[in-house]
Amino acid sequence: MDILYSDKPMLALLVSAVAAMFILFTGERRRNLREFWTLLASVVKFSIVASMIPLVLKGKIIECTLFHLLPGVAFQFRVDAFGLFFATLASALWIATSVYSIGYMRGLQAHSQTRFFFCFAFALHGALGIAFAGNLFTLFIFYEILTVSTFPLVAHKETSEAIRGGRKYLAYLLTGAVLIFFSMGVTYALTGKLDFVAGGFLQGSGSDPLLRLLFATFIFGFGTKAALMPLHEWLPTAMVAPTPVSALLHAVAVVKAGVFCVLRVVLYVFGPKLLYDLDLWLALAYFASFTIIVSGMFALAQDNLKRRLAFSTINNLAIIILGAALLSPSAITGGIFHLAAHGFMKITLFFVAGAIYVKTHKENISELDGIGKKMPITLGSFAIGAMGIAGTPPLVGFISKWYLCLGSLEAKEIVFLFVLLISVLFDIAYFFPIVYNSFFKKTKDEMKSGIQEASMFMVAPIVLCAILSIVLGLSPNAFVHFFEMASSAMKNILGSGGG
Amino acid sequence: MVWQLNLILLLFVLICAIASITVKDLLSSAIIFGVYSFFMCLLWAEMGSVDVAFTEASVGAGVSTIFFIVAILKTTRRSKD
C-alpha cells in the first residue's frame, strides 16, 4: 500500500483551530465578520478534505508525522479510507450546520454567541482530528478536545437544567475517557505500540481473559460517547442544548465520533481475527442488539420531539456497531455507510425540530398537530428524513440497511436480521405519528396566527440535507464517493485481517 | 572526656530540659532554658569542642536568652501548660 506524505491533514485540522481564534478575537461586536469566519472555515475545510478523496480511493494512505510523543508513538495523522469517510461526512455537514446555526442563533437572539461559535469550531477540530489520527494516542488527544469543547455547547443556555445536562455529559464522558486511558495504557504496556493497523495488532500479546477485559474497557469507554444503552443517559439530557448543537452531537461530530472510535478499536486494534478467536464479536453484537431494541421502546415513550430523536439516534448508532460486530463484508460496508446515511437524515430531522422551536417555541410532539400546513417545506423534509431512517427504498437509509441485512445473513446469524427488521418497525412506529399528525390533524387555535416558514438560513440547509439524502439514496457514490470509500475501508480491514 | 563528669552534666541538662518545658511561668522557663544552654556549653567544652562551646555560650546562653526574654516581655508570661 502506498504511503504519501503530505501536510494536508494537518492543514485541514488547523483551519478550524485558526478559525476559532479568529472568531474569539473578532468578538461579539462584529457579528457578520465572525460568522463569515465560520462559513469560510467550513468551506475551506471541506475542500481540503475533499481534495484528498481521489488519492485515497486509489488505495493510497496520506500520512503526516509531526513529532514523537512517546517512544514508538508519534503525533501522527494518517488518512485512510475509513478516516477520510468520517472526515468528509463531518466537514460536509459542518457547512450545513454553520449556515443553520447562524440562522438559529440570530432567530433566538441567543447570548454568548462568540463562545458558541468558538467551541463549535473547536469541536469540529476535535472530530476531524479523531478521523485523521494515526494512532490511539493521537486519537485520544482529539477525543478529549472534542469532549471538553462540547461541554460549553451543551450547557449553553446557562439555565440550571442546561448546567445539569452539561454536568451529566461531562461525568459520563470523562468516566469513559478514563476507561479509555486505562485500556490505552494496557495496550501500550502489552505491545509497545499504538498505531492503527487494518486488521488489528493485538493478536497474541496477552492472555485471553486480559484481552477480554481490555475489550470490555475499550467498549465501555468509547461506548459512553457512542451512547450504547446502559451508558446512554447523558444523550437525552443533553437535549437542552441549542438545536444546532444537538444536530452536531447526534448527527455530525460527537456520537458519530464515538461510534467511529468503537469501530476503530474493533477493526483496527483488535481486528476481526482476534474477535473471532475470543468470540467477542458475538458479545458486542448482542450488546448492540440490546441497545437497538430497548432504545426503540424508549423512543416510543417520549413526547419531547428532541428526546425522541435522541433515542432514535441511540438506536441507529447501535445498528452501526452491530454492523461492525458482524464482521462480514456487507455488514461492515453497510455499517460504515450508515454513518453517513444516518448523519444526513438525522441532521435533517434535528434541523426541523430546531426550526419549529424557533418559530413556535414548542418542543412536544403532542403540541405540533397540524403544523405541517403552516410550514410545509420544513415538515416535508422531516417526512423525507423519517422515511429514510425507516429504510424506505429510494432513500439513503435503505441502502445501508439492505447491506446490513445482507451482512447478517453472511454471518449466518439470523437473529440479527430480525433485530434489524424490528428496528425498522420501531422507526416507523415512532416517526409516522408525527408526520401524520402534523399534516392531517386539525391545527390548534393558538398555532393559527403568525406561524410561517423559518428564515432562509434555516430552510436552505434543511432542504439541502433532505435532497442529499434522496440523491445519495439513488446514487450512493454521488459527489464524494461515500459508498466507494466505505467498501474500500472494508476491503482494507478484511483483506489483511484474514477474517 | 571524663565520663563521670560527662554523666553529671548530662543529667543536669536533662533536668533543665524537663524543667523548662514544664514550668508554667514562661519567663522562668526562658531563664531555665538559658541555664540549659549553659550546661550544654559546659558539656561540649568537656567533650573537647571548644569552638562550639564558645558559640553556644555566646549565642545560646547569651543572646538568644535575651531575645527570648524580650519577646516574652512583649507578649505574655502566662501559660496553661
Partner: protein, 500 residues
C-alpha cells in the same frame, strides 16, 4: 572538569543580588524590581547554559575552593539536577515578574526586603538542587525554609500562625534530615554524596544506615508535604500572599521531590531502597492515600486557593507514587510531573493572585461574571485546570500517562485505579469552578448583592506584569505536553537514576 564556572554562577548571582538589593534599595527604591528581574534572568541563562553543556558533555563537577571531594564541597550536576535547575529558575523568573503588583500594593514600604527574601528563597532552592554534599544541602534547605517562613507570614489574617506551624513542622523535617546526615556520617565519615554512595553498599546491613534512610525520607516527606505529614501545607499556602504561594507551592514541594529521588536512588542505591527495605512500597502507599485524601478534601473547600492547595497535596502524591513505583515508566512520570505540576501550580496560584489583586473574593460562589472581566486570565485558568484533570493536549495528561504505565508495569492495579479516580475527582473540582465562572447560575444571581459589591469588583483584566507570566505559563502547559516526547528523549531519560 572544572572549566565551566556556570554551576557556581547560577547560585552566586542571585545570592549576591540579594545582598546588593539591600544597598540598592538604600539608593533608589524603584531600581530593586528591575534588578531582581535582571538577576533572575541571568540565573535562567546560566541554568540553560548548564543544561546545554550537560546534554553535550555529560556530568559537570565543580570543586568549591578547589578542594577535592570528599574534603571540600563539590557541585555535581548531572541531567537530573540540570533539569530541575531549569524548572526552578524559569518558574521563579516568571513568578518574580508577576509579583510586582502585589508587592507594590500590599507592602510598598517593605518591597526591598520582599525582593531580597524572594531572591534568597530562589537561591536556597537552586542551592539544594545543584549541590553534591549532604550537609551543604541542609544549609540551603534552611535558607529556603527561613525565607519561606517569612514570606508566608506577611500574608493575610491567619498567616503568622500558619507560618509558625509550618516552621515547627519544617524544623522537625530539617532536623530529621540533619540527623540522617549525622547517622550516615558516624558510619562512613563522609558527607559527599558520590563518596557516600560508594561507601554505603558495604554497610547496608547496619541498623544505623537503615535509621538514616528512614530519617532522610521522613524529613524530606515533611518538607514536600507528603500525605500524613502534610498538615502544615493547606493553611500556609492559603494565607500566604499569592505571589509567594505561587513561588513556594510549585517549587518547594518539587525540590523536595528531587531530594527524595536523589537520596533514594543517588546516595542509596536503588536496590537498597527497593529490595533491602520495602521503602518504595511504603512510599507508594503513602502516595496512594495522599492522592485520595487530597482530592477528597479539596472537594469540601469553597475557597479556591485552599482547594488548589489540597489539589497540590494530591499532586505531590502523584510524584511520590512515581518514585515509589520504582520502575522506568514510573520514574519518568514522576520527573515529568515535577515539571508539569510546577507549571500548573504556578499558573493556578498566580491566577488566584491576579483575582485577589483585582478585589475578587476567593469564594467560588462569587465568581459569576468573572470571565467577562478577566477573559484572558480565565482562559489560562481553564487550560491549567484541564491540565490538572489530565486532559490532553495539556501537559498533565502526559505525566499521568507515564505514571499509569508505570503502575501497570508494576501490576499495581489499585494504583492505576487511584490515578484514574483522582482524574475524575479533579474534574469535579475544576469544572465546578469553571461553571461558576462561565455559566452564571440564574437562580443564584439574586443572592449576590448586585449593585455595590459588583461595582467595587470592577477590576478589569489582571495587570500586565501578571498577565504576561500567566499567558506564558498557559502556553507552556500546552506546548510542554505535546513536546514531552522530545523533552524525555533529550533530558529526562538521562536524568533517570542508574539501572533504570
Amino acid at each position: 572538569m572544572t572549566a565551566s564556572p556556570f554551576p557556581i554562577l547560577v547560585i552566586v548571582v542571585p545570592l549576591i543580588s540579594a545582598f546588593l538589593i539591600i544597598l540598592l534599595g538604600w539608593l533608589k527604591k524603584s531600581l530593586c524590581y528591575p534588578f531582581m528581574i535582571a538577576s533572575l534572568m541571568a540565573t535562567v541563562f546560566f541554568s540553560m547554559a548548564i543544561l546545554r553543556w550537560i546534554i553535550h558533555h555529560g556530568t559537570l563537577h565543580y570543586y568549591l575552593g578547589n578542594w577535592d571531594p570528599p574534603w571540600g564541597i563539590e557541585y555535581l550536576i548531572d541531567p537530573l539536577n540540570a533539569f530541575v535547575l531549569v524548572i526552578v529558575s524559569v518558574i521563579s523568573l516568571l513568578i518574580g515578574i508577576g509579583s510586582k503588583p502585589m508587592v507594590e500594593s500590599d507592602i510598598p514600604r517593605k518591597s526591598i526586603y520582599f525582593y531580597c527574601l524572594f531572591l534568597l528563597q530562589v537561591t536556597g532552592l537552586l542551592g539544594i538542587v545543584v549541590t553534591g554534599d549532604v550537609f551543604n544541602l541542609y544549609v540551603f534547605l534552611e535558607i529556603a525554609s527561613l525565607a519561606g517562613y517569612a514570606l508566608i507570614a506577611i500574608g493575610e489574617e491567619g498567616a503568622p500562625f500558619a507560618s509558625f506551624n509550618y516552621m515547627i513542622y519544617g524544623t522537625i523535617g530539617a532536623c530529621f534530615y540533619l540527623l540522617g546526615v549525622g547517622y550516615l556520617y558516624i558510619m562512613t565519615g563522609s558527607l559527599n554524596m558520590a563518596d557516600l554512595s560508594k561507601l554505603l553498599p558495604d554497610l547496608y546491613a547496619s541498623k544505623v544506615v537503615l535509621m538514616a534512610f528512614a530519617f532522610f525520607v521522613v524529613g524530606v516527606a515533611i518538607k514536600m508535604a507528603l500525605f500524613p505529614l502534610h498538615v502544615w501545607l493547606p493553611d500556609a499556602y492559603t494565607y500566604a500572599p499569592s505571589s509567594v504561594t505561587s513561588l513556594l507551592a510549585p517549587l518547594t514541594t518539587k525540590v523536595g521531590a528531587y531530594v527524595l529521588i536523589r537520596i533514594m536512588y543517588g546516595v542509596f542505591k536503588p536496590n537498597f531502597s527497593i529490595e533491602v527495605i520495602p521503602a518504595t512500597t511504603i512510599l507508594s502507599w503513602m502516595a496512594f492515600f495522599a492522592i485520595l485524601f487530597g482530592c477528597v478534601l479539596a472537594l469540601g473547600q469553597r475557597d479556591l486557593k485552599r482547594m488548589v492547595a489540597y489539589v497540590l497535596i494530591a499532586e505531590i502524591g502523584y510524584i511520590a507514587l512515581g518514585v515509589g513505583l520504582a520502575n522506568r515508566n514510573g520514574l519518568l512520570g514522576a520527573l515529568l510531573h515535577i515539571m508539569n505540576d510546577a507549571l500548573m501550580m504556578a499558573c493556578l496560584f498566580l491566577i488566584v493572585g491576579a483575582m485577589t489583586y483585582r478585589g475578587w473574593p476567593r469564594q467560588m460562589e462569587r465568581f459569576t461574571g468573572l470571565h467577562r472581566k478577566m477573559p484572558i486570565t480565565m482562559a489560562a485558568f481553564v487550560i491549567s485546570a484541564l491540565s490538572v484533570i489530565g486532559i490532553p493536549p495539556a501537559c498533565g495528561f502526559f505525566s499521568k500517562w507515564y505514571l499509569v504505565l508505570g503502575a501497570i508495569d508494576a501490576e499495581q492495579w489499585l494504583f492505576v485505579a487511584v490515578l484514574l479516580i483522582s482524574s475524575l475527582l479533579n474534574a469535579i473540582l475544576f469544572f465546578r469552578v469553571i461553571e461558576y465562572v462561565y455559566f452564571e447560575p440564574v437562580a443564584k444571581e439574586s443572592e449576590v448583592k448586585p449593585s455595590e459589591e459588583r461595582t467595587k469588583f470592577m477590576g478589569n483584566e489582571a495587570p500586565l506584569t501578571m498577565l504576561i507570566p500567566i499567558i506564558l505559563f498557559a502556553l507552556a502547559i500546552l506546548s510542554v505536553g505535546l513536546l514531552s516526547g522530545t523533552i524525555i528523549s533529550l533530558v529526562i531519560q538521562f536524568a533517570l537514576p542508574a539501572n533504570f
